[in-house]
Amino acid sequence: MYSDKVMDHFKNPRNVGEIENPSGVGEVGNPVCGDIMNIYLKIENNVITDAKFKTFGCGAAIASSSMATELIRGKTLEEAWDISNKAVAEALEGLPPVKMHCSVLAEEGIHKAINDYRKKQGLEPWVEKNPHSHDHEEDGEGLTCQH
Protein backbone atom coordinates (compact mmCIF):
# COMPACT_ATOMS: atom_id res chain seq x y z
CA MET A 1 0.00 0.00 0.00
CA TYR A 2 2.63 2.52 1.11
CA SER A 3 6.01 3.11 -0.49
CA ASP A 4 9.15 2.13 1.40
CA LYS A 5 9.85 5.83 1.90
CA VAL A 6 6.47 6.39 3.53
CA MET A 7 7.04 3.39 5.78
CA ASP A 8 10.49 4.66 6.69
CA HIS A 9 9.16 8.09 7.66
CA PHE A 10 6.24 6.49 9.47
CA LYS A 11 8.40 4.11 11.46
CA ASN A 12 11.26 6.54 12.04
CA PRO A 13 9.59 9.90 11.95
CA ARG A 14 12.01 12.82 11.79
CA ASN A 15 11.48 15.93 13.92
CA VAL A 16 8.77 14.68 16.24
CA GLY A 17 8.09 16.98 19.10
CA GLU A 18 7.54 20.62 19.97
CA ILE A 19 9.78 23.67 19.99
CA GLU A 20 9.90 25.78 23.12
CA ASN A 21 8.97 29.37 22.29
CA PRO A 22 8.46 28.66 18.60
CA SER A 23 8.62 31.46 16.08
CA GLY A 24 5.46 30.19 14.46
CA VAL A 25 2.92 27.41 14.94
CA GLY A 26 0.49 25.90 12.43
CA GLU A 27 -2.37 23.78 13.67
CA VAL A 28 -4.43 22.10 10.94
CA GLY A 29 -6.89 19.26 10.65
CA ASN A 30 -9.65 18.09 12.89
CA PRO A 31 -9.95 15.05 15.14
CA VAL A 32 -13.38 14.30 13.70
CA CYS A 33 -11.71 13.72 10.35
CA GLY A 34 -9.06 11.54 11.90
CA ASP A 35 -6.06 13.79 11.43
CA ILE A 36 -4.50 16.78 13.16
CA MET A 37 -1.07 18.21 12.45
CA ASN A 38 0.78 20.75 14.53
CA ILE A 39 3.87 22.29 12.91
CA TYR A 40 6.35 24.24 15.04
CA LEU A 41 8.97 26.49 13.44
CA LYS A 42 12.08 28.21 14.72
CA ILE A 43 12.96 31.06 12.35
CA GLU A 44 16.13 33.10 12.36
CA ASN A 45 17.00 35.71 9.72
CA ASN A 46 14.14 34.55 7.49
CA VAL A 47 15.49 31.00 7.57
CA ILE A 48 13.83 27.99 9.17
CA THR A 49 16.48 26.73 11.55
CA ASP A 50 14.30 24.14 13.21
CA ALA A 51 10.99 22.47 12.43
CA LYS A 52 9.08 19.96 14.51
CA PHE A 53 5.65 18.35 14.44
CA LYS A 54 3.06 16.51 16.43
CA THR A 55 0.49 14.52 14.50
CA PHE A 56 -2.63 12.53 15.21
CA GLY A 57 -3.44 10.53 12.13
CA CYS A 58 -2.77 7.66 9.83
CA GLY A 59 0.54 6.43 8.50
CA ALA A 60 0.48 8.85 5.60
CA ALA A 61 -0.25 11.79 7.89
CA ILE A 62 2.69 10.97 10.11
CA ALA A 63 5.02 10.37 7.18
CA SER A 64 3.89 13.58 5.48
CA SER A 65 4.58 15.57 8.64
CA SER A 66 7.99 14.02 8.95
CA MET A 67 8.91 14.62 5.31
CA ALA A 68 7.50 18.15 5.26
CA THR A 69 9.52 19.22 8.28
CA GLU A 70 12.62 17.69 6.70
CA LEU A 71 12.04 19.57 3.46
CA ILE A 72 11.69 23.01 5.04
CA ARG A 73 14.58 22.88 7.45
CA GLY A 74 17.30 25.31 6.40
CA LYS A 75 15.04 26.88 3.78
CA THR A 76 14.10 30.56 3.56
CA LEU A 77 10.48 31.34 4.30
CA GLU A 78 9.89 32.01 0.63
CA GLU A 79 11.37 28.68 -0.35
CA ALA A 80 9.44 26.85 2.34
CA TRP A 81 6.21 28.54 1.31
CA ASP A 82 6.67 27.24 -2.20
CA ILE A 83 6.99 23.61 -1.19
CA SER A 84 3.75 22.12 -2.46
CA ASN A 85 1.86 19.08 -1.22
CA LYS A 86 2.93 17.37 -4.45
CA ALA A 87 6.56 17.96 -3.55
CA VAL A 88 5.94 16.31 -0.19
CA ALA A 89 4.18 13.36 -1.80
CA GLU A 90 6.91 13.00 -4.41
CA ALA A 91 9.62 13.09 -1.79
CA LEU A 92 7.74 10.21 -0.16
CA GLU A 93 7.83 8.31 -3.45
CA GLY A 94 4.12 8.74 -3.84
CA LEU A 95 1.00 8.40 -1.71
CA PRO A 96 -2.13 6.35 -2.46
CA PRO A 97 -4.83 8.60 -4.00
CA VAL A 98 -7.04 8.43 -0.91
CA LYS A 99 -4.09 9.61 1.16
CA MET A 100 -3.06 12.63 -0.90
CA HIS A 101 -4.99 14.85 1.50
CA CYS A 102 -2.34 14.10 4.12
CA SER A 103 0.28 15.90 2.04
CA VAL A 104 -2.15 18.77 1.58
CA LEU A 105 -2.48 18.95 5.33
CA ALA A 106 1.30 19.21 5.64
CA GLU A 107 1.49 22.05 3.14
CA GLU A 108 -1.30 23.86 4.95
CA GLY A 109 0.41 23.35 8.29
CA ILE A 110 3.60 24.95 7.03
CA HIS A 111 1.72 27.86 5.50
CA LYS A 112 -0.17 28.40 8.71
CA ALA A 113 2.99 28.32 10.79
CA ILE A 114 4.74 30.78 8.46
CA ASN A 115 1.81 33.16 8.55
CA ASP A 116 1.61 32.80 12.33
CA TYR A 117 5.21 33.99 12.41
CA ARG A 118 4.50 36.83 9.97
CA LYS A 119 1.53 38.01 11.99
CA LYS A 120 3.61 37.98 15.16
CA GLN A 121 6.14 40.10 13.26
CA GLY A 122 3.40 42.56 12.29
CA LEU A 123 3.62 41.50 8.64
CA GLU A 124 0.80 40.81 6.22
CA PRO A 125 0.10 37.10 6.03
CA TRP A 126 0.86 35.66 2.61
CA VAL A 127 -2.05 34.61 0.46
CA GLU A 128 -2.39 31.07 -0.86
CA LYS A 129 -1.54 31.18 -4.55
CA ASN A 130 -3.27 27.94 -5.46
CA PRO A 131 -5.87 27.32 -2.82
CA HIS A 132 -6.61 23.59 -3.10
CA SER A 133 -10.00 22.24 -2.43
CA HIS A 134 -9.42 22.42 1.27
CA ASP A 135 -9.29 19.23 3.10
CA HIS A 136 -11.41 20.09 6.06
CA GLU A 137 -14.16 22.54 5.51
CA GLU A 138 -17.00 23.90 7.51
CA ASP A 139 -19.93 23.91 5.20
CA GLY A 140 -23.48 24.91 6.07
CA GLU A 141 -24.25 21.50 7.55
CA GLY A 142 -21.15 21.22 9.73
CA LEU A 143 -17.81 19.67 9.17
CA THR A 144 -17.04 17.69 6.02
CA CYS A 145 -13.93 15.60 5.71
CA GLN A 146 -12.89 15.61 2.09
CA HIS A 147 -10.83 12.50 1.93
Binding site: P31, V32, G34, F53, C58, G59, A61, I62, C145
Partner: protein, 399 residues
Amino acid sequence: MGEKRIIYMDHSATTYVRQEVVDAMAPYHTENFGNPSSIYRIARASKKAIDTARAQVAQALGADADEIYFTSGGSESDNWAIKGIASANIRKGSHIITSQIEHHAVIHTCQYLEKEGFTVTYLPVDRYGLVDPADLEKAITDKTILISIMYANNEIGTIEPIAELGAIARNHKIPFHTDAVQAVGNVPIDVNAQNIDLLSLSAHKFYGPKGVGVLYIRKGTKIDNLIHGGGQERRRRAGTENIAGIVGLGKAIELATADIEGHNKKIQAMRDRLQKGIIATIPSTHLNGHPEKRLPGNINISFEFIEGESMLLWLDDEGICASTGSACTSGSLEPSHVLLATGLPVEISHGSLRLTLGNINTDADVDFVLEVLPKVVTRLRDMSPLYKKSGKDGGCNVQ
Protein backbone atom coordinates in the same frame (compact mmCIF):
# COMPACT_ATOMS: atom_id res chain seq x y z
CA MET B 1 9.90 -7.26 6.74
CA GLY B 2 11.56 -10.65 7.08
CA GLU B 3 10.12 -13.96 8.16
CA LYS B 4 8.48 -12.94 11.39
CA ARG B 5 5.84 -15.08 13.00
CA ILE B 6 2.33 -14.02 12.07
CA ILE B 7 -0.11 -13.52 14.91
CA TYR B 8 -3.47 -13.57 13.22
CA MET B 9 -6.16 -11.83 15.25
CA ASP B 10 -8.55 -10.87 12.50
CA HIS B 11 -10.77 -13.94 12.32
CA SER B 12 -13.88 -11.82 11.84
CA ALA B 13 -12.41 -10.53 8.58
CA THR B 14 -11.74 -14.03 7.31
CA THR B 15 -10.29 -17.33 8.44
CA TYR B 16 -7.84 -19.76 6.94
CA VAL B 17 -9.36 -22.93 5.48
CA ARG B 18 -8.85 -25.83 7.87
CA GLN B 19 -7.03 -28.85 6.53
CA GLU B 20 -10.00 -31.24 6.74
CA VAL B 21 -11.90 -28.81 4.53
CA VAL B 22 -9.08 -28.44 2.01
CA ASP B 23 -8.91 -32.22 1.82
CA ALA B 24 -12.65 -32.57 1.34
CA MET B 25 -12.61 -30.09 -1.52
CA ALA B 26 -9.64 -31.49 -3.41
CA PRO B 27 -11.35 -34.24 -5.47
CA TYR B 28 -13.91 -31.82 -6.89
CA HIS B 29 -11.45 -29.91 -9.02
CA THR B 30 -9.86 -32.68 -11.02
CA GLU B 31 -11.71 -35.97 -10.60
CA ASN B 32 -15.32 -35.30 -9.73
CA PHE B 33 -15.54 -32.17 -11.79
CA GLY B 34 -18.81 -33.03 -13.51
CA ASN B 35 -21.60 -30.51 -13.81
CA PRO B 36 -24.20 -31.71 -11.31
CA SER B 37 -26.98 -30.91 -13.76
CA SER B 38 -25.75 -33.59 -16.14
CA ILE B 39 -26.95 -37.17 -15.89
CA TYR B 40 -23.77 -39.21 -16.29
CA ARG B 41 -21.89 -40.85 -13.47
CA ILE B 42 -19.20 -38.28 -12.65
CA ALA B 43 -21.88 -35.61 -12.61
CA ARG B 44 -24.09 -37.66 -10.33
CA ALA B 45 -21.14 -37.80 -7.92
CA SER B 46 -21.08 -33.98 -7.92
CA LYS B 47 -24.78 -33.87 -7.26
CA LYS B 48 -24.46 -36.27 -4.37
CA ALA B 49 -21.66 -34.19 -2.85
CA ILE B 50 -23.89 -31.13 -2.97
CA ASP B 51 -26.74 -33.03 -1.37
CA THR B 52 -24.43 -34.01 1.46
CA ALA B 53 -23.31 -30.43 2.00
CA ARG B 54 -26.91 -29.27 1.96
CA ALA B 55 -27.76 -31.78 4.68
CA GLN B 56 -24.77 -30.64 6.74
CA VAL B 57 -25.95 -27.03 6.60
CA ALA B 58 -29.54 -27.99 7.37
CA GLN B 59 -28.36 -29.94 10.38
CA ALA B 60 -26.35 -26.98 11.68
CA LEU B 61 -29.34 -24.64 11.45
CA GLY B 62 -32.13 -26.98 12.47
CA ALA B 63 -33.59 -26.54 9.00
CA ASP B 64 -34.73 -28.86 6.22
CA ALA B 65 -32.26 -29.57 3.45
CA ASP B 66 -34.61 -28.17 0.83
CA GLU B 67 -34.59 -24.80 2.59
CA ILE B 68 -30.84 -24.37 1.98
CA TYR B 69 -29.66 -22.45 -1.09
CA PHE B 70 -26.00 -22.07 -1.92
CA THR B 71 -24.75 -18.63 -2.97
CA SER B 72 -21.42 -16.92 -3.58
CA GLY B 73 -21.14 -15.60 -0.02
CA GLY B 74 -22.66 -13.47 2.70
CA SER B 75 -23.07 -10.38 0.56
CA GLU B 76 -25.02 -12.18 -2.13
CA SER B 77 -27.18 -13.87 0.49
CA ASP B 78 -27.99 -10.54 2.12
CA ASN B 79 -28.74 -8.91 -1.23
CA TRP B 80 -30.90 -11.80 -2.31
CA ALA B 81 -32.88 -11.92 0.94
CA ILE B 82 -33.59 -8.21 0.95
CA LYS B 83 -34.13 -7.47 -2.73
CA GLY B 84 -35.87 -10.79 -3.32
CA ILE B 85 -38.40 -10.22 -0.55
CA ALA B 86 -38.81 -6.58 -1.51
CA SER B 87 -39.62 -7.20 -5.16
CA ALA B 88 -41.82 -10.26 -4.51
CA ASN B 89 -43.93 -8.43 -1.94
CA ILE B 90 -44.16 -4.98 -3.44
CA ARG B 91 -47.94 -5.24 -3.72
CA LYS B 92 -48.21 -5.76 0.03
CA GLY B 93 -46.07 -2.81 0.97
CA SER B 94 -42.70 -1.17 0.66
CA HIS B 95 -41.49 -0.70 4.22
CA ILE B 96 -38.40 -2.49 5.52
CA ILE B 97 -37.00 -2.49 9.05
CA THR B 98 -33.34 -3.07 9.80
CA SER B 99 -30.81 -1.68 12.26
CA GLN B 100 -28.17 1.04 12.19
CA ILE B 101 -25.35 -1.43 12.81
CA GLU B 102 -25.87 -3.89 9.97
CA HIS B 103 -23.07 -4.91 7.67
CA HIS B 104 -22.79 -2.82 4.51
CA ALA B 105 -24.20 -5.74 2.52
CA VAL B 106 -27.49 -5.03 4.28
CA ILE B 107 -27.23 -1.25 4.72
CA HIS B 108 -26.18 -0.47 1.16
CA THR B 109 -28.81 -2.82 -0.24
CA CYS B 110 -31.46 -1.02 1.82
CA GLN B 111 -30.14 2.34 0.65
CA TYR B 112 -30.38 1.13 -2.93
CA LEU B 113 -34.00 0.13 -2.33
CA GLU B 114 -34.69 3.57 -0.83
CA LYS B 115 -33.63 5.08 -4.14
CA GLU B 116 -36.07 2.70 -5.82
CA GLY B 117 -38.93 3.98 -3.67
CA PHE B 118 -38.87 1.76 -0.59
CA THR B 119 -38.96 3.19 2.93
CA VAL B 120 -36.44 1.84 5.41
CA THR B 121 -36.40 2.22 9.19
CA TYR B 122 -32.92 1.84 10.67
CA LEU B 123 -33.47 0.91 14.32
CA PRO B 124 -31.06 2.52 16.78
CA VAL B 125 -28.97 0.52 19.25
CA ASP B 126 -27.97 1.19 22.83
CA ARG B 127 -24.40 1.94 23.90
CA TYR B 128 -23.61 -1.76 23.76
CA GLY B 129 -24.98 -2.19 20.27
CA LEU B 130 -28.21 -3.94 21.26
CA VAL B 131 -31.45 -3.49 19.34
CA ASP B 132 -34.43 -3.05 21.68
CA PRO B 133 -37.30 -5.41 20.75
CA ALA B 134 -39.73 -2.68 21.88
CA ASP B 135 -38.30 -0.41 19.19
CA LEU B 136 -38.94 -3.08 16.59
CA GLU B 137 -42.53 -3.53 17.77
CA LYS B 138 -43.11 0.21 17.47
CA ALA B 139 -41.55 0.49 14.02
CA ILE B 140 -43.82 -2.10 12.40
CA THR B 141 -46.56 -0.75 10.13
CA ASP B 142 -49.09 -2.54 7.97
CA LYS B 143 -46.77 -1.80 5.03
CA THR B 144 -43.78 -3.60 6.57
CA ILE B 145 -42.70 -6.49 4.35
CA LEU B 146 -39.33 -7.40 5.83
CA ILE B 147 -37.40 -7.22 9.07
CA SER B 148 -33.66 -7.79 8.84
CA ILE B 149 -31.54 -7.72 12.00
CA MET B 150 -28.07 -9.20 12.15
CA TYR B 151 -27.37 -12.07 14.52
CA ALA B 152 -24.00 -10.83 15.75
CA ASN B 153 -22.18 -7.68 14.82
CA ASN B 154 -18.92 -8.03 12.92
CA GLU B 155 -17.18 -5.06 14.52
CA ILE B 156 -18.17 -5.00 18.16
CA GLY B 157 -19.33 -8.62 18.46
CA THR B 158 -22.64 -7.80 20.13
CA ILE B 159 -25.17 -10.65 19.86
CA GLU B 160 -28.72 -9.45 19.24
CA PRO B 161 -31.84 -10.93 20.89
CA ILE B 162 -32.75 -12.81 17.72
CA ALA B 163 -35.39 -15.15 19.14
CA GLU B 164 -37.28 -12.22 20.65
CA LEU B 165 -37.04 -10.13 17.50
CA GLY B 166 -38.06 -13.14 15.43
CA ALA B 167 -41.10 -13.73 17.63
CA ILE B 168 -42.27 -10.16 17.10
CA ALA B 169 -41.90 -10.55 13.34
CA ARG B 170 -43.78 -13.84 13.47
CA ASN B 171 -46.64 -12.26 15.43
CA HIS B 172 -47.03 -9.70 12.69
CA LYS B 173 -46.54 -12.32 9.95
CA ILE B 174 -43.60 -10.39 8.54
CA PRO B 175 -40.64 -12.34 7.11
CA PHE B 176 -37.63 -12.14 9.42
CA HIS B 177 -34.13 -12.20 7.96
CA THR B 178 -30.94 -12.39 9.99
CA ASP B 179 -27.40 -11.88 8.76
CA ALA B 180 -25.71 -14.66 10.73
CA VAL B 181 -22.38 -14.41 8.92
CA GLN B 182 -20.52 -13.77 12.18
CA ALA B 183 -22.67 -16.05 14.30
CA VAL B 184 -22.15 -19.48 12.75
CA GLY B 185 -19.88 -21.61 14.91
CA ASN B 186 -20.07 -19.16 17.81
CA VAL B 187 -23.75 -19.29 18.74
CA PRO B 188 -26.15 -22.24 18.54
CA ILE B 189 -28.67 -21.47 15.81
CA ASP B 190 -32.12 -22.98 15.44
CA VAL B 191 -34.19 -21.33 12.75
CA ASN B 192 -37.43 -22.75 14.10
CA ALA B 193 -36.95 -22.01 17.79
CA GLN B 194 -35.72 -18.54 16.87
CA ASN B 195 -38.43 -17.74 14.33
CA ILE B 196 -35.95 -17.05 11.56
CA ASP B 197 -37.38 -17.08 8.03
CA LEU B 198 -34.22 -16.19 6.15
CA LEU B 199 -30.60 -16.46 7.25
CA SER B 200 -27.32 -15.53 5.54
CA LEU B 201 -24.01 -17.20 6.19
CA SER B 202 -20.57 -17.28 4.56
CA ALA B 203 -18.07 -20.15 4.67
CA HIS B 204 -14.90 -18.09 5.03
CA LYS B 205 -15.90 -16.95 8.49
CA PHE B 206 -15.85 -20.46 9.90
CA TYR B 207 -12.72 -22.00 8.36
CA GLY B 208 -14.28 -22.71 5.00
CA PRO B 209 -13.40 -21.31 1.58
CA LYS B 210 -14.11 -17.79 0.36
CA GLY B 211 -16.73 -17.17 -2.30
CA VAL B 212 -19.43 -19.53 -1.07
CA GLY B 213 -22.32 -18.95 1.28
CA VAL B 214 -25.88 -19.91 1.99
CA LEU B 215 -29.26 -18.30 2.14
CA TYR B 216 -31.67 -20.27 4.26
CA ILE B 217 -35.24 -19.65 3.06
CA ARG B 218 -38.11 -21.03 5.09
CA LYS B 219 -40.52 -23.09 3.00
CA GLY B 220 -43.39 -20.98 1.73
CA THR B 221 -41.53 -17.67 1.85
CA LYS B 222 -42.39 -15.47 -1.11
CA ILE B 223 -39.12 -14.31 -2.64
CA ASP B 224 -37.87 -13.43 -6.12
CA ASN B 225 -34.60 -14.71 -7.53
CA LEU B 226 -31.55 -12.47 -7.54
CA ILE B 227 -29.62 -14.46 -10.14
CA HIS B 228 -31.86 -15.78 -12.91
CA GLY B 229 -30.92 -18.44 -15.43
CA GLY B 230 -30.49 -22.20 -15.31
CA GLY B 231 -32.44 -24.49 -13.04
CA GLN B 232 -29.80 -24.92 -10.34
CA GLU B 233 -30.72 -24.81 -6.63
CA ARG B 234 -34.26 -25.88 -7.44
CA ARG B 235 -34.62 -23.01 -9.92
CA ARG B 236 -33.90 -20.37 -7.31
CA ARG B 237 -30.23 -19.55 -7.83
CA ALA B 238 -28.82 -19.95 -11.30
CA GLY B 239 -25.21 -20.73 -12.11
CA THR B 240 -23.14 -23.87 -12.35
CA GLU B 241 -22.57 -24.94 -8.78
CA ASN B 242 -19.24 -24.19 -7.11
CA ILE B 243 -19.00 -27.82 -6.08
CA ALA B 244 -15.61 -27.67 -4.38
CA GLY B 245 -16.71 -24.58 -2.47
CA ILE B 246 -20.05 -26.10 -1.50
CA VAL B 247 -18.40 -29.29 -0.29
CA GLY B 248 -15.96 -27.15 1.70
CA LEU B 249 -18.76 -25.13 3.24
CA GLY B 250 -20.61 -28.29 4.25
CA LYS B 251 -17.57 -29.81 5.89
CA ALA B 252 -16.66 -26.52 7.57
CA ILE B 253 -20.09 -25.94 9.08
CA GLU B 254 -20.21 -29.50 10.33
CA LEU B 255 -16.88 -29.04 12.09
CA ALA B 256 -17.67 -25.54 13.33
CA THR B 257 -20.92 -26.55 14.94
CA ALA B 258 -19.84 -29.91 16.33
CA ASP B 259 -18.81 -28.48 19.70
CA ILE B 260 -19.61 -24.80 19.90
CA GLU B 261 -19.41 -24.74 23.67
CA GLY B 262 -15.95 -26.28 23.81
CA HIS B 263 -14.72 -23.98 21.05
CA ASN B 264 -16.09 -20.88 22.74
CA LYS B 265 -14.66 -21.79 26.13
CA LYS B 266 -11.17 -22.03 24.72
CA ILE B 267 -11.37 -18.86 22.62
CA GLN B 268 -13.12 -16.86 25.29
CA ALA B 269 -10.51 -17.65 27.92
CA MET B 270 -7.80 -16.20 25.66
CA ARG B 271 -9.98 -13.26 24.72
CA ASP B 272 -10.77 -12.39 28.34
CA ARG B 273 -7.15 -12.48 29.39
CA LEU B 274 -6.13 -10.29 26.45
CA GLN B 275 -8.92 -7.81 27.06
CA LYS B 276 -8.22 -7.50 30.79
CA GLY B 277 -4.53 -7.16 30.13
CA ILE B 278 -5.00 -4.35 27.64
CA ILE B 279 -7.36 -2.41 29.86
CA ALA B 280 -5.10 -2.87 32.86
CA THR B 281 -1.95 -1.62 31.13
CA ILE B 282 -3.25 1.09 28.81
CA PRO B 283 -5.11 4.13 30.17
CA SER B 284 -7.85 6.08 28.40
CA THR B 285 -9.52 3.17 26.62
CA HIS B 286 -13.16 2.41 25.82
CA LEU B 287 -14.40 -1.13 25.48
CA ASN B 288 -16.89 -1.26 22.62
CA GLY B 289 -19.74 -3.74 22.34
CA HIS B 290 -21.62 -5.62 25.00
CA PRO B 291 -19.55 -6.91 27.93
CA GLU B 292 -21.29 -10.33 27.94
CA LYS B 293 -23.63 -10.70 24.96
CA ARG B 294 -20.71 -10.85 22.65
CA LEU B 295 -18.90 -13.13 20.24
CA PRO B 296 -16.33 -15.23 22.14
CA GLY B 297 -13.31 -14.07 20.15
CA ASN B 298 -14.12 -10.39 19.78
CA ILE B 299 -12.32 -7.45 21.36
CA ASN B 300 -13.06 -3.94 20.20
CA ILE B 301 -11.33 -1.18 22.12
CA SER B 302 -10.87 2.49 21.36
CA PHE B 303 -7.66 4.18 22.40
CA GLU B 304 -8.01 7.91 22.88
CA PHE B 305 -5.68 10.40 21.16
CA ILE B 306 -4.47 8.08 18.43
CA GLU B 307 -5.69 6.87 15.07
CA GLY B 308 -6.36 3.26 14.11
CA GLU B 309 -4.47 2.85 10.87
CA SER B 310 -1.19 3.93 12.38
CA MET B 311 -1.77 1.36 15.14
CA LEU B 312 -2.38 -1.37 12.55
CA LEU B 313 0.80 -0.49 10.67
CA TRP B 314 2.90 -0.81 13.79
CA LEU B 315 1.18 -4.04 14.78
CA ASP B 316 1.68 -5.43 11.29
CA ASP B 317 5.33 -4.56 11.60
CA GLU B 318 5.39 -6.88 14.61
CA GLY B 319 3.48 -9.57 12.70
CA ILE B 320 0.12 -8.89 14.37
CA CYS B 321 -2.94 -8.85 12.07
CA ALA B 322 -5.81 -6.72 13.33
CA SER B 323 -8.35 -4.22 12.09
CA THR B 324 -9.85 -0.87 12.96
CA GLY B 325 -13.04 1.12 12.55
CA SER B 326 -11.12 4.21 11.48
CA ALA B 327 -12.20 5.86 8.27
CA CYS B 328 -8.57 6.18 7.35
CA THR B 329 -8.18 2.55 6.38
CA SER B 330 -11.23 2.44 4.20
CA GLY B 331 -10.88 5.64 2.26
CA SER B 332 -14.45 6.43 3.28
CA LEU B 333 -15.39 9.68 4.92
CA GLU B 334 -16.78 8.34 8.14
CA PRO B 335 -15.37 6.05 10.75
CA SER B 336 -17.33 2.91 11.59
CA HIS B 337 -21.07 3.49 11.44
CA VAL B 338 -21.36 0.81 14.11
CA LEU B 339 -19.24 2.64 16.66
CA LEU B 340 -21.04 5.90 15.89
CA ALA B 341 -24.41 4.17 16.36
CA THR B 342 -23.36 3.15 19.87
CA GLY B 343 -22.78 6.81 20.63
CA LEU B 344 -19.00 6.75 20.61
CA PRO B 345 -17.69 10.21 19.59
CA VAL B 346 -16.26 10.35 16.07
CA GLU B 347 -12.77 11.32 17.19
CA ILE B 348 -12.55 8.35 19.53
CA SER B 349 -13.94 5.99 16.90
CA HIS B 350 -10.88 6.75 14.80
CA GLY B 351 -8.72 5.14 17.47
CA SER B 352 -10.52 1.80 17.64
CA LEU B 353 -8.82 -1.56 17.36
CA ARG B 354 -10.56 -4.86 16.66
CA LEU B 355 -8.82 -8.07 17.64
CA THR B 356 -10.77 -11.23 16.81
CA LEU B 357 -9.39 -14.48 18.10
CA GLY B 358 -9.95 -17.87 16.56
CA ASN B 359 -8.72 -21.42 16.25
CA ILE B 360 -5.30 -20.35 15.14
CA ASN B 361 -4.47 -18.45 18.33
CA THR B 362 -2.49 -19.58 21.36
CA ASP B 363 -1.70 -18.24 24.81
CA ALA B 364 1.68 -17.18 23.47
CA ASP B 365 -0.12 -14.96 20.96
CA VAL B 366 -1.98 -13.26 23.78
CA ASP B 367 1.27 -12.70 25.68
CA PHE B 368 2.90 -11.22 22.62
CA VAL B 369 0.09 -8.78 21.89
CA LEU B 370 0.08 -7.74 25.55
CA GLU B 371 3.76 -6.99 25.23
CA VAL B 372 3.62 -5.11 21.93
CA LEU B 373 0.37 -3.19 22.01
CA PRO B 374 1.12 -0.89 24.99
CA LYS B 375 4.37 0.17 23.34
CA VAL B 376 2.60 0.97 20.09
CA VAL B 377 -0.05 3.02 21.83
CA THR B 378 2.55 4.92 23.82
CA ARG B 379 4.65 5.63 20.79
CA LEU B 380 1.70 7.05 18.88
CA ARG B 381 0.37 9.00 21.83
CA ASP B 382 3.77 10.55 22.32
CA MET B 383 3.54 12.13 18.92
CA SER B 384 -0.14 13.03 19.17
CA PRO B 385 -1.03 16.68 19.74
CA LEU B 386 -4.29 15.57 21.36
CA TYR B 387 -2.51 13.58 24.03
CA LYS B 388 -0.48 16.57 25.17
CA LYS B 389 -3.51 18.83 25.25
CA SER B 390 -5.36 16.39 27.44
CA GLY B 391 -2.63 16.36 30.05
CA LYS B 392 -1.68 12.75 29.27
CA ASP B 393 -4.37 11.07 31.31
CA GLY B 394 -7.39 13.30 31.33
CA GLY B 395 -10.49 12.78 29.24
CA CYS B 396 -10.64 13.51 25.58
CA ASN B 397 -10.92 17.25 25.34
CA VAL B 398 -11.12 17.52 21.60
CA GLN B 399 -13.63 20.12 20.52
